[in-house]
Subunit: 364 residues, 2 copies
């Protein structure tokens, strides 16, 4: 019995040689349904060196411009790890050239910019996804199953998330993430993005009603946020707090409290080990007799994966691209929708900081 | 060679037969330098039953009033687990009768009331301590040593603490902690007390500059707080958030983030196991190559104890009483000082809730 040959892999072009592109390039090469056919940098030599250093297929083209990648008819999809301030221009340009867009976060400087990107993707019928890797770890779905269990977790009451890293002197001087003309959102857009996404994810993507920045923000001399926090208040009840920073030890926490249960994870952004994702739950916990100890104690759950989460992200993205290409499917709306909600909350927290820590109402 | 006999144990009177008094009575009997000589209730029969059920020494007296305990010349010190609204009267009365005071938390309905208690203790030269048990676990000192290590922890950046328990229907209907005339502070005074103490402890007892309640508070019909949260902002920089509740799963978290390290503990109020106190630290954590994983992974530290933390609390309190009695020492000021700071923050969060979630300035 004859079977159809597997669909040909999605051919990626890499637009820019940022450090994070090394990790995502490896992911594209690891994913079974994708490959790399081109890379563009402002210098062709830099692009060629990047291709070589990262084990690109020998046939991959190294271009001295981003435009050349978008003009290459062999490129199906682009991965864009450029500075945030360049996202609108290049993501829109890519979509106009019918390239599917995998966009590094923060996806834009604000929701209005993102809306231009999403409109371009929509009008071209290309898939859009932001590069939030942890969403694609099997652990994320397993944690969600716990949160959805009314008996073991129940009504959502409170969420706390931290993502911080101690970025060091060189980063604080030279990284694009601390330059007001390249990424004015600083730690809020970079590290805070993950916390906000985690909170939205835990709340089934219901948008908070208000965002209030915490009264302690660190800025660099150019006014870029180096650390901040916020509280979010959900219309159906429940509250979330987050803290993000370039000036604190590398920490990646989510804790989620429900009426009947509690979940925590300590490496949600990047698992400590690539092939296992542990998380810890407790349900229907009671004090033991005389309030000495508790019953039951927390349980460690472990989700295993052969592919690292970033390769699973690429695999998911590429499978959506293949569906569009092979079946004429429409682009999957989930990814632009949650990307936009994340950006809206980023914007609200930024506005609360700018306005002196007042509560900012969130409207979709 | 003759040695001095050990000082005679501190003789406790128990003022009220609340449930928590069972645990503390056991602790008094476990501690090597204390014993129980009397218990008072509004009914002598109830006091006698309580003494019997909790293994009091046969000679212990069971009184039908609280006054009788304070009038008993054999009583050196009292433990007061009465409803919060009665603390001022009975703690002041005890101090006036020269009884040392171990006071259940929340210690008073507000700082002004507590000041009356502390003034009475001060003028009588008796020791005051609030019954915040976890302060006395050896784990607490071990965690503090980590936080004080500049190389491994560094400057304090952010703290989050949760204490919640799902109290159940019977509690929500009948417990003194949800009755406006008995304990109008509700979950904030009860569970929130621990979170606030944890935050102050982590911040070396520097008082926050402002307290802002989070915009999601649950009240019962009588207006007593069943759940709430707050953010605290420290004058030297650094921010803390807390969440306390009678309506969420039993959860007891502290996470403390510094420039160079991170500490978390999951059972800070009541250790999961009575004789071990685990906590988790990470210091100088870096992303591994390609930002795949981190180095080093967190370390589990375990503090062991033969006596449960509540017995260590009693032992510490009794040792201070013995120093006063044997050496004419002055009462140790640390305990009233941190109790008062905790109450001041409770008051500020309550005021922020009452005023519609505005930031409330904290003045000592």
């Amino acid at each position: 019995m004859a079977t159809d040959p597997p669909p040909s892999p999605v051919r990626f072009g890499i637009v820019g040689c940022a450090n994070i592109a090394r990790k995502v390039s490896r992911a594209i090469l690891l994913s079974p349904n994708s490959t790399i056919v081109a890379v563009g940098s402002r210098s062709a030599a830099k692009a060629a060196a990047f291709a070589e250093e990262n084990g690109f297929p020998a046939a991959a083209k190294a271009y001295g411009s981003y435009d050349a990648v978008l003009d290459d008819p062999d490129v199906d999809a682009v991965y864009i790890p450029l500075p945030t301030s360049l996202h609108r221009h290049w993501a829109v340009a890519a979509a106009m050239k019918k390239k599917h867009v995998l966009l590094e976060k923060p996806v834009a400087l604000n929701a209005a910019e993102l809306d231009e990107i999403l409109a371009a993707c929509d009008s071209s019928g290309v898939q859009y996804m932001d590069a939030t890797m942890w969403m694609h770890h099997p652990r994320t779905a397993e944690m969600k199953a716990f949160l959805a269990d009314d008996r073991r977790f129940g009504r959502l009451k409170s969420i706390h998330s931290i993502f911080s890293y101690n970025s060091g002197e060189e980063f604080l001087k030279n990284d694009i993430r601390v330059k007001p003309d390249l990424d004015s959102l600083g730690a809020l857009g970079d590290a805070g993005w993950y916390c906000i996404r985690a909170i939205l994810w835990a709340a089934d993507y219901s948008l908070p009603k208000t965002a209030t920045a915490l009264r302690d923000v660190e800025f660099n001399e150019a006014g870029v946020i180096l650390s901040c926090g916020a509280s979010l208040h959900f219309p159906a009840g429940g509250v979330a707090t987050l803290y993000c920073s370039f000036l604190s030890n590398l920490t990646m926490e989510i804790s989620i409290l429900g009426a009947n249960g509690f979940l925590r994870v300590h490496d949600f952004v990047i698992p400590f080990k690539e092939n296992v994702g542990p998380f810890y739950v407790n349900a229907n916990t009671k004090f033991a007799r005389l309030s000495v100890g508790i019953e039951p104690e927390p349980t460690e759950c472990v989700a295993r994966t052969d592919l690292p989460q970033e390769a699973l992200m690429v695999k998911e993205f590429a499978s959506l691209v293949i569906k569009i290409r092979e079946n004429g499917a429409e682009a999957e709306k989930k990814w632009p929708t949650i990307s936009r909600k994340t950006q809206i909350v980023v914007d609200a927290i930024k506005a609360s900081i700018d306005k002196g820590f007042v509560p900012v109402e969130i409207v979709e």
